[in-house]
Subunit: 255 residues, 2 copies
């Protein structure tokens, strides 16, 4: 099976021009087939506030009303996506900027209302991912750069979690490739105090949660990572965006 590296970069990396540029230089050097999934960062929130829109949050999640969706699409699928793609092309890394709506690459559906209506937020239909097109462009050594905007079958654009997109792509493509999924961000990995935890397996994970060493935002990331591995992804690594070429850096998630 051919190898495929899928890397997700987080918002803090995107917000810092120099860190982003260094990351992209490293990314361009990764051998073989690869996909870059990027998040949003603060630019969308800043733009919304410049436009006088209030960002509504419930339980740490942004509520995506029609205006927020427009801003997210403009910033994620427009400015960030095309800036990254143009930069990669200038580094001899032949790239194409896409979002989940292109070719219905990542079909999704609007999150159902429960007690909270999150608005125009997409839930990825993992089994419907357009692996055929991804395989076509990967076979031609083209690198997809994927923005966290998707659409449903009616053409409604939906704001979608970038971590989820990265893991959904990893799972869907693990039928065709040996997939390594890297979550890269501003930290060195999953930390215990200041020390990077080298490997986390399910029993270590339970312990770390029990001892409150792993909390908050890291839990959904790790839950996602374990789920991806159970669904066929070969390897998941959580590491610093400056260390993606270092095979020994970061935290490795294993079964």
């Amino acid at each position: 099976m051919k190898k495929l590296t899928i890397i997700k970069i987080g918002g803090n990396v995107i917000d810092d021009e120099r860190t982003l540029s260094q990351f992209l230089s490293s990314f361009a050097k990764i051998g073989g087939n690869k996909i870059l999934v990027h998040g949003g960062g603060k630019i969308a929130t800043q733009l919304s506030s410049q436009l006088g829109f209030e960002t509504k949050m419930v339980d740490g999640r942004r509520i995506t009303d029609a205006e927020t969706l427009k801003v997210a699409t403009m910033v994620y699928a427009g400015w960030i996506n095309k800036s990254i793609t143009a930069a990669l092309n200038s580094k001899n890394c032949e790239s194409i900027g896409l979002c989940g709506a292109d070719l219905l690459l990542i079909p999704s559906e609007k999150r159902k209302k429960t007690n909270v209506d999150y608005g125009f937020v997409g839930e990825v239909l993992e089994s419907k991912i357009n692996t055929k097109f991804l395989e076509l462009i990967l076979t031609n050594n083209i690198v997809p750069v994927v923005a966290p905007i998707t659409s449903d079958y009616t053409g409604q654009l939906l704001n979608t979690n970038a971590d989820t997109i990265a893991s959904a792509l990893a799972v869907a493509l693990s039928t065709l490739y040996e997939v390594k999924l890297i979550y890269s961000f501003e930290k060195d990995g999953v930390l215990n105090g200041e020390k990077v935890i080298g490997v986390i397996n399910p029993s270590v994970y339970d312990l770390l949660k029990k001892e409150k060493i792993i909390t908050d935002g890291m839990i959904p990331k790790l839950d996602n990572a374990f789920l991806s591995i159970r669904k066929g992804v070969k390897e998941v690594v959580i590491t610093n965006s400056s260390q993606i070429l270092n095979q020994n850096a970061g935290t490795r998630i294993t079964n």
Copy 2:
């Protein structure tokens, strides 16, 4: 030679939701390979003014400073491009939203300063167009939807005239396809008073210009059209966006 239809829609069509939706339904019905190139419309100007940026114009051309470029990229390559692509996909027209920066599809260079510095404006390098990738996706019956943003070889994004992009794509692809280029907008064609002029050849064109029947914004459009035909494009038509399925509507440009 296989046939290819390239359609450019203008800003006024994009600004009117109902007209745009009707256009997209017609576009989805066009048989064979096709490409859609879209302009910007008023949304970018509106967004700039909401953000408190002043739109600077010289000789009817917008000056693209860094902020204007960011807004143009967000609006054209983000919101408009992905909204159109998602809508086409929902109409069973398998589409991919791109700009000229993707895969250096349409390499360009920053317009040289003369007496006016137009800022981040791209001049298309027609001979460098990535026809290989376009052929790859057209062969797979995928429809490219192209936003008028390009980049140079250093990764600098550039705001680029959509009419020029449409004709440059038409010329570059005429080595591989029999290309029909349609400029569609809110008018019924090139008008003499209220009557559509059915055919314009070079000598008719000279006469119409001399009699001031053709003026202003239509001249660069027609110059572009004649140039495209001299460079190998089979047919150029200027017509109403609601009439693209009507073979007899609009104005035909011939040699």
